[in-house]
Amino acid sequence: MADILVISEQRRGVLSPVVSEAIGAARELAAQKSGKVLVAVVGNDPSAFTPQLSLAGVDEIIEVALNTPEFQSDIYEEAVLALINERKPAVVLLPHSIDSLGYAPALAVKGNFGFTTDVFGVRYEGDDLVAARQAYQEKAHVELDFPGKSTVVLTVRGGSFKAPEEAGSPSVTAFAAPATAGRTTHVAFHDPEASAGEDLTAAEFILSIGRGVADEDNVAQFEELAAALNFSLGCSRPIADNGWLPKYRQVGQSGKTVSACKVYIAMGISGSVQHLAGMKHVPNIIAINKDPEASILSVARYGIVGDMFEIANELRSQLS
């Protein structure tokens, strides 16, 4: 028997959607080994999330009440470690996220667990657990195993597993986490500068620019082009880091996920894993890049291999 334990994640009262996806992955794994699916709801008011996570296939919800309103690495680490040691699951699944980057490796070290991150596939081959992840900006995929490890901790990539749609009726129990003093202190959240009403997550048509823009002075012509197309303007990380466009226009893992987008034109964006995380689900991606090997062309529906400035000039003159 091999139980699968999913650890929840929330921020400022909002549950991460990847938790339900991890439950989907847990369900398939548990079925392979006739184990149970356990979901630990971790936070200062765990019962608030119990209804949302009572999904089909979940056998037990374990409410873990913590004395911290928001994520704190030491408190999460100690609570989850104690829970794993008590329940001894074969696999522990967490969202691959900013928070798990902040404590999952420490958890793995302290428990001497098998461990890997950013997993998009997982299965048993006989008795061996096999996890799949990317390497070299998606140019290769890697399958990992965990010899000699009776518990394996995996962080799972958002959008890789299907969340169960039906509700279930799991039993609900409580786990008393050990009292831990967090060594770091939360001071404040800082929200990004206001986006003047523009919300990329709601935009249906987006033109995004990346490193290919090369110079701050070149940004304005793409603002004009986006306006001429009646598209919203987005960008990849380096453009926001340079301060050439405000942070709220950044698409990707550390920016916006463009959930409502129908057409995404990527100009001069090579397509790092981090950028793709925010837009590769868009049904119609049109990529313009001078490099025929750019990763963006492998997720795009249409591609132009060429100079983004030449194409932009043509587009502007034909649209005017």
Binding site: A106, F115, V142, G306
Partner: protein
Amino acid sequence: MKILVPVKQVEILDEDFEIHDDGRRVDSDYIEHELNEWDDYSWETALQLMEKHEGAVEAIPMTVGPDGADDVLRKCLAKGGERAIRVWDDAMEGSDPIAIARVIAAVAKREDVKLVLAGTQSTDHGYGQTGIATAALLGWPHVAVVSELDYTPGSEKATVRRELEGGVEEEIEVPLPAVLTIQLGINEPRYASLRGIKQAKSKEIEEVSPQDLGIPANEIGEAGSAARVRRMYVPERGKAELIVGTPAEQAKRLIEIVNELKGA
């Protein structure tokens, strides 16, 4: 006080790369190396602290890798710092980030550093594990994905900002010694001067083995790892339908496509 900056020599693949016959890695004929992008930012963070508090802070870059990895240390030293440390032994082959972290933690102890500034993740594998695993091995507080750092030498704590989703940041106080993993964009990494590049050639790179650091053989390599590569393969990649022609023709077709999609 000392700041240790573990940097990684990442692998860049040639366009026509092939998987090695063992099916577990890329054939080394198709691999080039460079300094991990994140580590450019963590090293710059350390250099800025060293310059701001001249004489009070020493920044030391280190790496885990064979002879060739000296290149990335020289690249760091060309921008500043006086010495670097490279740890290697063939027994390190097959090490995952957890095993690498054992080496970094051992160097941090030996050097009695107050701060470890690691990159959040690497461009080649993107595990995002090494820094925080190092913190756990040292038993130190840690913050991942740091986008701002404010520290005054002599102070018992640093104030940092952690980059959350969608541009939100969390301000956190962290007591020292600590490990921070640094996010892109925390600063603007400088370029090395020609003089700096020349000077770096004569700066000291100390070569150390895991044995020298007292790390048992079963804590490095595959034996000391939390995961093992079973198979590496080239995934089926999607291919965009290419729009060909002159730029004018390409632009015309693109507008047609956009109009069709907007109408749909």
